[in-house]
């Protein structure tokens, strides 16, 4: 069943072609599906299964292991507040409670206007910059209640708060699902060539150099 748009289908094939085996593309394609719709529908998984030659149950089995994949609608902005140890020590939980009362929702819930979903998350690798939170995986370091309120206000008014992140990121925050605003693209004439492992059973050519000099 077709789920991907024509453009995304093209991207899907480009992604699949980067792997020696199509199944490796399942996770990237789930991201692509989430990018298209904000969350992952059954139709999306069935289409991914077709594209990668696995069953829908396998796609769901893989997908449901990873917490970034949402199998139900979430807000345009996913707000993740870290409460793991480093952040907790410096007020991560207080920040989370502030976020809960500001947005009027608790962990896992979405605001009625569909704008925000809030999550209490584990360490997001910004420990020295605690406490911190992310919006659609864009960082806001050393955040306090004011930072949080400002970010929410900006988002509500349609402006990007990225420069408040104290982390050198800028531009717009894409809506939930779009992770990277830049895609890898391998030009065909530059591609070394990706083959299934069973089709490349010999040593790469440059390894011959080892033998060559050994002889001389």
């Amino acid at each position: 069943m077709a789920y991907f748009t024509e453009e995304n289908l093209r991207r899907a094939h480009e992604i699949i072609d980067r792997y020696p085996r199509a199944k490796s593309a399942v996770i990237p394609l789930l991201h692509l599906a989430q990018e298209q719709n904000g969350w992952i529908t059954n139709e999306a998984m069935t289409h991914i299964a077709e594209l990668t030659n696995v069953t829908s149950a396998e796609v769901l089995g893989t997908g449901s292991f990873y917490e970034m994949f949402k199998f139900h609608p979430v807000g345009k902005y996913l707000v993740n507040v870290c409460t793991n140890i480093s952040c907790q020590l410096l007020g991560g939980e207080e920040l989370l409670h502030h976020a809960e009362s500001t947005l009027g929702i608790t962990d896992g819930e979405t605001t009625e206007d569909g704008l925000f979903t809030l999550e209490d998350v584990e360490c997001i690798a910004a420990c020295t910059e605690a406490p911190c939170f992310t919006v659609n995986y864009r960082y806001f370091h050393r955040a306090d209640e004011n930072t949080f309120d400002e970010v929410v206000a900006e988002l509500r008014s349609g402006r990007s708060p990225l420069d408040k992140g104290k982390q050198g990121d800028s531009g717009d925050i894409p809506s939930h699902g779009t992770l990277s605003r830049i895609q890898q693209h391998i030009p065909l004439d530059r591609k070394a060539g990706i083959t299934p492992p069973e089709d490349s059973k010999t040593a790469p050519v440059w390894m011959e150099k080892n033998a060559e000099e050994a002889k001389s």
Partner: protein, 469 residues
């Protein structure tokens, strides 16, 4: 942009020591190909291509470059474990950085992606690896953008892909997105994930990646920081590298110091020279505990590491002495906690992490970590039972049998039990949940007892910890 003022990456703090992998962090455009080439970028690759692959491998072996992902295994030795004559071989870069307290690989990926790419290329050249996968933690959107951009630039400019630098060396580097699962940082789980599966670890033996890895082929898994060191080593030579650091741990390492210090941040530090005390209190480093408070405890190497205390401050930042004292440097994540910290709460918070992140494969980890968390939460919320302390220790013993590695307490006549812990599980995640419990109970048993026996006299934090149902 030649004279751009030292901007420094968010979180990174420049100190006076040698800079092998953070040199470019001072430039705002450190992640661009242009800046990279202006600052000696791809010189290591050029030098490597002039030599035999085996010589490049020897250079890395000679440098005793210890893995930076946590286990500290020498990269050059690991590279030698690929079985002869079995092709193809792959390189998988572990950029899944998720260990609590760890923040360094994200910096390296965001601030200097070309350095990492160069390291990958050299590794591929040395070992005949025919394809490289850069597995980047899903939650790191900016890192993905910077790497995607860097790869696009590098492909375009002929540094990656077919006939690199016009030679008969060709390798594709593929950026792969993770999707949120700490366990995927474990190398065999990483491989499962890269194959499109649930990230559940495989049992070693037989699944040592170097022998049976991605698609069942020999696979080298290295950490981002490990590989980021390679260009410098090849460019400057192993002996120059060994001039820094200690004999068994040469070179520098990135340490992320978080928690109750005045100047938390990521520091590039010579291994074995600097001590924890220097790091916490030194002018060049963290400049002391906040508000002049006393140190209560610190985690020397990520959430998985047994806790250290006051008496460990003079240990050097070096794998061996830290191991001998009963903990580990792990992924270079140091979390400092001052006297105001509630030991039970800290313990609960770290255990909750492991319970949430257990992949679910092994019964002791799947069931045991959630059980530990439930008991700790009960104790913390004032519903503890007197038998709970022994129960926690016994559950821990069933996940990680025998004396759990713990720091030595000279004052209590306790000797350190060295790493690695024994485990009834496949991977060390389950046993890692035992570290905070054993550490906290051994040192702060009284706090547990007080919570259990005098539940009303202790002010319970206004912010009870949410626990996943």
């Amino acid at each position: 942009m030649n004279n751009s003022a030292p901007a420094f990456a968010a979180g990174y703090i420049n100190n006076d020591g040698p800079k092998l992998i953070t040199e470019r962090f001072q430039f705002e455009d450190s992640f661009t190909l242009e800046r990279f080439l202006n600052t000696g970028g791809y010189d290591g690759l050029r030098k490597a291509l002039e030599r035999k692959p085996s010589e490049v491998h020897d250079e890395v072996r000679e440098a005793i470059l210890l893995g930076r992902g946590g286990a500290g295994f020498p990269a050059g030795v690991k590279w030698g474990f690929c079985p002869e004559g079995v092709w193809p071989r792959y390189l998988v870069v572990n950029g899944d950085e998720s260990e609590p307290g760890t923040y360094k690989d994200r910096l390296l990926m965001e601030r200097d992606p070309h350095q990492l790419i160069e390291g990958c290329l050299i590794a591929c050249y040395a070992l005949g690896l025919s394809q490289c996968f850069l597995y980047v933690r899903g939650e790191m959107a900016l890192a993905q953008e910077r790497i995607a951009n860097a790869l696009n630039e590098a492909y375009e400019a002929g540094y990656v892909g077919r006939n690199i630098l016009g030679q008969d060396f060709s390798v594709d580097i593929v950026l792969h997105w993770g999707a949120g699962a700490y366990i995927v940082g474990e190398e065999t789980a990483l491989i499962e994930s890269l194959e499109g599966n649930r990230g559940m670890p495989r049992l070693k033996p037989p699944y040592f990646p170097a022998a049976i890895g991605l698609y069942g082929q020999p696979t080298i898994v290295n950490n981002v920081e490990t590989l980021s060191n390679i260009p410098w080593i090849i460019d400057n030579g192993a002996s120059a590298y060994k001039e820094m650091g200690s004999e068994t741990s040469p070179g520098t390492r990135l340490f992320a110091i978080s928690g109750h210090v005045n100047r938390p941040g990521v520091y590039e530090v010579e291994q074995g020279v600097t001590t924890f005390r220097d790091l916490f209190y030194g002018e060049n480093f963290c400049q002391g505990i906040r508000n002049g408070n006393e140190l209560k405890m610190f985690i020397p190497g990520g959430g998985s590491a047994p806790w250290f205390f006051e008496e460990h401050l003079d240990l050097p930042l070096e794998a061996r002495p830290v191991g001998e004292a009963g903990s580990m440097l792990g992924s270079g994540a140091i979390v400092v906690m001052d006297e105001t910290t509630d030991a039970v709460k800290a313990c609960l918070r770290v255990v909750r992490f492991f319970a949430r992140e257990s992949c679910g494969k092994c019964s002791p980890c799947r069931e045991g970590t959630t059980w530990e968390e439930k008991i700790l939460r009960r104790i913390y919320e004032g519903d503890g039972r007197p038998s709970d302390i022994e129960l926690l220790l016994d559950i821990g013993d069933n996940i990680s049998p025998g004396p759990y590695p713990v720091a030595a307490f000279s004052d209590q006549n306790l000797e350190a039990v060295p790493f690695p812990p024994r485990q009834t599980t496949i991977c060390p995640l389950g046993p890692s949940s035992v570290a905070p419990i054993t550490s906290a109970i051994r040192r702060f048993r009284a706090e547990f007892e007080t919570l259990i026996t005098q539940r009303d006299s202790i002010p319970v934090s206004a912010a009870p910890i949410e626990v996943e149902q």
